[in-house]
């Protein structure tokens, strides 16, 4: 079971801030991030890539995105 961050409804820079905090504490593995704007989606992906995390999956469900990040 991968860790989950619910960043829906949060405005910049909160989604990135809490995602980065979590990614740093995990160091590797898998993390699921829920966001509900395209801006947040892009920002979270950009921040995760900067730490060497890959985007495994982007799942659009209605007005939300479920981002699955992973680092081996």
């Amino acid at each position: 079971m991968s860790d989950l961050i619910d960043a829906r409804g949060l405005s910049c820079p909160q989604p990135v801030l809490i995602t980065l905090e979590k990614l740093k504490s995990l160091d590797q593995g898998e993390l699921v991030v829920l966001v509900d704007t395209d801006t947040s989606k892009e920002n979270v992906i950009r921040a995760a890539s900067s730490l060497g995390w890959q985007v495994k999956d982007v799942n659009a469900a209605g007005v939300e995105y479920k981002l699955t990040l992973e680092k081996a």
């Binding site: 961050i5 409804g9 949060l10 820079p13 801030l17 704007t37």
Partner: protein
């Protein structure tokens, strides 16, 4: 569609958008807008407040079509890319107050972050103090972010909530078309116009509106934001948005050189004063307010066009702040700060610190 989407999310995309804004802002000055004020979201919101009589400072009354274009352009882009998201409910009263304080600070300096860059690109050395203040204000904001500051989550809501602000903007556009400027008259129907001063200097309606729409379109796509640029640089050492901000500065500078609009110096710069400390402090207030609200004034307009009701409230706060600034003598003029400008900066800063220290919420 997806390749356009990827282009605007890329580094080249954000740099192109910054350069586009820089070039067209400098051109707008050539085409009639005030000096080093091709685009200034704070000044233009203030002029709109004057046009509808919320303040009666005779020299700054004009219903700036650029602002209307920003919102409508962003709305069109949001619809075209299925990003129109009606949302609201994240501490609207706080966002209104942040908008007011942002405007009060910006009018002590005389410009929003975009204009600070345009002033520097035109050779106005006083802008350096404003930009330093902006950095300082945003830096204070990042300290609050690290302590857990946030205004709580927004909620998805009725489509009509997202429509409301763009409809207000369409209403203003209708007023502008119904009551066009009458030469040498300060009133046309119910709209006020300036017969002299910065408010009397403007490009033709169609030109201003077209540039505004184009900027709104590309800025919505690229999420261009000057506050975000500095915030991400300070907080995450990320240069994505910052590269766009730098592109704006360089493009405006080069365009000014070509148009012979670059006039280096400190004294007698257009719509500017030389009080270093208050240029700095005004933008500390504005920068902190933008940071706490999650966007520079331009970005708030684009988000309002995407259906963000909280950003719309921030914009309305800015317009109210402009009215307060001019009615109570808080705004600066080329002679220096207004009679109560310094008091306003101190009070505004105190209120911002109160907001920053007290509004924390566990979200994770």
């Amino acid at each position: 569609m997806s390749s356009i989407r990827e282009f605007f999310a890329s580094r080249v995309g954000i740099i192109s958008v910054g350069a586009f804004i820089g070039v067209f802002a400098a051109l707008l000055q050539k085409w009639g807008n005030p000096g080093n004020m091709g685009i200034c979201v704070a000044c233009f919101d203030r002029d709109i407040a004057g046009a509808i009589g919320l303040h009666r400072a005779a020299v700054v009354q004009y219903l700036r079509p650029e602002i209307l274009g920003f919102v409508l352009g962003a709305m069109v882009a949001a619809f075209a890319f299925k990003e129109f998201r009606p949302r609201a409910g994240s501490a609207p009263i706080v966002r209104f107050v942040l908008g007011m304080l942002a405007m009060i600070g910006a009018l002590v300096f005389l410009g929003c972050p975009w204009r600070a860059l345009l002033r520097l690109a035109g050779g106005d050395g006083n802008a350096i103090f404003g930009l330093l203040g902006l950095v300082a204000g945003i830096w204070i904001g990042t300290l609050f972010f690290k302590r857990g500051y946030n205004l709580g989550r927004t909620q998805s809501t009725y489509a009509s909530v997202g429509w409301l602000f763009p409809l207000i903007i369409l209403g203003l556009l209708a007023l502008r078309l119904i009551f066009p400027q009458v030469p040498d008259k300060d009133l046309s129907g119910i709209l006020f116009y300036s017969v002299k001063g910065p408010g009397s200097q403007h490009a033709a309606l169609a030109v201003s509106l077209a540039v505004g729409l184009a900027v709104g379109l590309v800025a919505q796509r690229s999420r261009f934001c000057t506050m975000g640029a500095l915030r991400d640089l300070i907080l995450f050492r990320q240069i994505h948005l910052f590269s766009g901000m730098l592109a704006l500065l360089i493009a405006a500078f080069l365009t000014n050189l070509v148009l012979s609009q670059f006039k280096p110096g400190f004294a007698n710069q257009p719509v500017a004063h030389t009080m270093e400390i208050w240029n700095f402090m005004g933008m500390v207030v504005a920068g902190l307010a933008f940071a706490l609200a999650g966007g520079c004034p331009g970005r708030q307009l684009f988000m309002a066009g995407e259906g963000d009701g909280d950003a719309a409230v921030f914009v309305l706060g800015m317009i109210a702040g402009a009215a307060v600034s001019h009615n109570f003598g808080l705004a600066s003029s080329p002679q220096g700060v207004g009679p109560y400008g310094i008091t306003a900066v101190i009070v505004s800063l105190a209120v911002l610190l109160f907001i920053g220290f007290t509004m924390r919420q566990k979200t994770a």
